[in-house]
Symmetry: C2
Subunit: 336 residues, 2 copies
C-alpha cells in the first residue's frame, strides 16, 4: 500500500475487536483479530481524516474499558464486536481537515487496526520531532514535583521510567519498585534511580519502604494501588502527596483491595488523580519541547518493549498484567 492513496481503492483492514466483556484477568481469547476491508475515502465535506496506523500504545488502563460500567468512566467502555481504540502514531492517507494533509504524521486516539477513519480529528496532534523514534509519541507523560523523596511504583513501565528520570533531573531522591530483578537493575543502572526493589521478592512491603525511606516519602507516584498503596500510606511524611496515575493491580478485581484511607487524616496526606489529556495546548507543547531537549542531550532515556504486527496486540495487552513488558509496551502495525 502506498502511503498517499487518492482514489476509492479498497484495502484489507485487520482489526483487534473486543469479543466479550472481561471478568478478572484479560486473556487473548477476550479479543479477536478479524480481517475486514475499508474503502479509502473520506465523506465529502467532512473534517474526517483517514489514517494508516503505525504504532499503537498498549496501556493497562485499557482493561478498565473492557468492563461495562453502570456509571460512565472518563473514557467510553469498549463494545463487544467493535474495534478497540487508544493513543497511537498514524500517517495521514486522506484528509478532509484543513490542518492535516496526506503524509502528515499524527499522534492521538486511533483504532487498533491497520487503517482508521477518524470522523473528527480533535484528539489528533501533529508530530513535531521526527528525529525521535515515532513510537515515543505513544507515551504521554506526567511530571513529578521538585526537591523531595519520591517513590514510583511500576517504575520500569511506560510512565514510571520517565517520572523517575524527571524526578532525578529535578534533584529528588528517587526509589522505584518493579516486578523482576532485571527491571530493578534497569532502574538503577539505566534510569539512574537512587534505589529500587523487586516487590515480588519482598515479604513485607512496609519494611521494604522503611529500608528505602527511613525518613518517609514526600511524593508517591501511584501506578499500582492495593497492597502497595496501603504500605505507602504508612510510610508517607506529614503533608505527603500521592499523584494517582493508575492502579494496575486493581483493574482485574471485582472489588478493589481494601485501603485504610483514614491515614490521610492523621498525616494530612493529599491524593490527587489526573489525566494527561487535561494538559493540552501550550502546556503540552512546552512539555514536548522539554522532553525533546532531554532526549537529545541524553538526560532522559526510554526503554520500549515492541510487539510486531497487529496480530500481536492482544497478547501484548494481556502481558501487561503479568508484567511481561520491560518498559513502554508498543505494538508496531507498520513502520511507514
Amino acid at each position: 500500500m502506498a502511503a498517499a492513496v487518492a482514489g476509492e481503492e479498497e484495502v484489507t483492514n485487520r482489526q483487534v475487536i473486543l469479543k466479550r466483556y472481561v471478568t478478572g484477568c484479560p486473556t487473548v481469547e477476550d479479543m479477536e483479530v478479524v480481517t475486514g476491508t475499508l474503502r479509502l475515502a473520506v465523506p465529502p465535506g467532512s473534517p474526517a481524516v483517514l489514517v494508516k496506523n503505525l504504532y499503537l500504545s498498549c496501556d493497562p488502563y485499557m482493561r478498565t474499558r473492557m468492563t461495562k460500567h453502570a456509571v460512565p468512566s472518563f473514557v467510553p467502555d469498549y463494545v463487544p464486536g467493535k474495534v478497540l481504540d487508544n493513543c497511537g502514531v498514524s500517517k495521514v492517507v486522506l484528509s478532509g481537515h484543513p490542518d492535516f494533509k496526506p503524509g502528515d504524521l499524527l499522534w492521538g486516539v486511533t483504532g487498533w487496526e491497520e487503517y482508521t477513519l477518524i470522523p473528527n480529528p480533535v484528539f489528533c496532534h501533529m508530530i513535531n520531532h521526527r528525529e525521535f523514534p515515532l513510537s515515543y509519541y505513544t507515551g504521554v507523560l506526567a511530571k513529578a514535583k521538585k526537591g523531595e523523596h519520591v517513590f514510583v511504583s511500576a517504575a520500569a513501565g511506560a510512565v514510571g521510567q520517565i517520572v523517575g528520570q524527571l524526578a532525578k533531573l529535578t534533584g529528588c531522591y528517587v526509589v522505584g519498585s518493579a516486578g523482576s530483578d532485571h527491571k530493578v537493575n534497569l532502574l538503577k543502572a539505566k534510569f539512574g534511580f537512587d534505589d529500587a526493589f523487586n516487590y515480588k521478592k519482598e515479604l513485607d512491603l512496609n519494611a521494604a519502604l522503611k529500608r528505602c525511606f527511613p525518613h518517609g516519602i514526600d511524593v508517591y507516584f501511584e501506578n499500582v494501588g492495593g497492597a502497595m498503596l496501603d504500605a505507602v500510606l504508612d510510610n508517607m511524611r506529614h503533608r505527603g502527596r500521592v499523584a494517582v496515575c493508575g492502579q494496575v493491580s486493581q483493574y482485574n478485581l471485582e472489588r478493589p483491595d481494601s485501603v485504610d484511607l483514614f491515614r490521610l487524616v492523621g498525616k494530612h496526606i493529599r491524593m490527587e488523580g489526573f489525566l494527561v489529556s487535561e494538559y493540552a495546548g501550550e502546556y503540552r507543547r512546552r512539555f514536548e519541547e522539554e522532553m525533546a531537549r532531554y532526549l537529545t542531550e541524553g538526560k532522559v532515556v526510554c526503554v520500549e518493549d515492541v510487539a510486531e504486527g497487529i496480530e500481536a496486540a492482544p497478547a501484548a495487552l494481556v502481558g501487561l498484567f503479568a508484567g511481561r513488558n520491560v518498559g513502554k509496551q508498543v505494538v508496531v502495525v507498520a513502520r511507514e
Copy 2:
C-alpha cells in the same frame, strides 16, 4: 470539692479506663469506671497544671485509639488499664505554669476523669469567650470552601452541623446525610441545609446523591467512609475535592471497606485529610473569634447531646457508633 484547693488535700478521682483492646464495635464492657484518689499537688518547679475536668468531648475517632497499631497513628493508642484522654474543658486547680492560674478555664487535651494532672500543658488553651456554653469548646471545627455544591455526611454530628452552616454562610448549595428522620428534619429546619436524606432509608446511595446533585458534587466533606465514599466518588464533578475529616463507618472494621480509587484519576479528584490540631496559633484564634461572632449573631447554632456524669462516658462513646447522639456528644463531669 472547692475549685481552688491550695494544700495537699487528697480527693477521690473517678476515671474511665480502657479495660482491653477493642475488636469490632466497642461496648461499655471494654471500658471501666474506677475510683482512685489524687493528691492535689503539682511537682515543685514543674510547669504542670492540675485541673478539674468539666466537659469532655466524645468523638468517634477515639475508637481508632482502642486498637493496638503496628505503625503509630497521629495520636498514641490507648493503653489497657490506663485512663482515656481527649479534648475537654477544665478549670485550673493548681498551676506551676506562668500562663495559667487557679480558676482559669482551659480547653485542650485532658483525661477522662474528674481531675487530671497535666505535666506540660502545651495542648491547653485559655477560654476567651465565657459568654458561650463552655461545652462548645469541646467542638473544634473545620471550614468548607466557597461557592460550590457541597455534600456533608454525618451532617447532624459534631462537625457536620457546623460545616454545613458555614458552607451555607458562604453561599454554597448544601446537602447532608444522617441516620434518622429526626436528624434529617433538624438539618433542614434548624441548620438550614438545602436538602438532606436519611441514608438508612435509601436503598441506593448513588441514586440518592443523583437526586440531590443532578449536576454533581464539587466538595464532599467526608465523615463516614466506606459505601458512602464509594457512592460519592461516582457523583463528584470534574476536579471535585474531598476533605477527609473522619470515617466513622470504618473504625470498627478489621479491614476497611473496598473503595474504587481509580475514579480519582478519571475526574481529577483531590482527596485531602487534615487535623484541626495543625491549625494552631493565629489561625485558631481568628477562627474562634469568627465563630463567636456567628454564634452571637445567631448565624450558627449548635446542637449538643449531653451525657451527665463521668459514669455515663463509656455509654456515650459506644452510642456514637449506633448514631444515638443527636449533635455533638458531650459528657458533663462537673458544671463548675
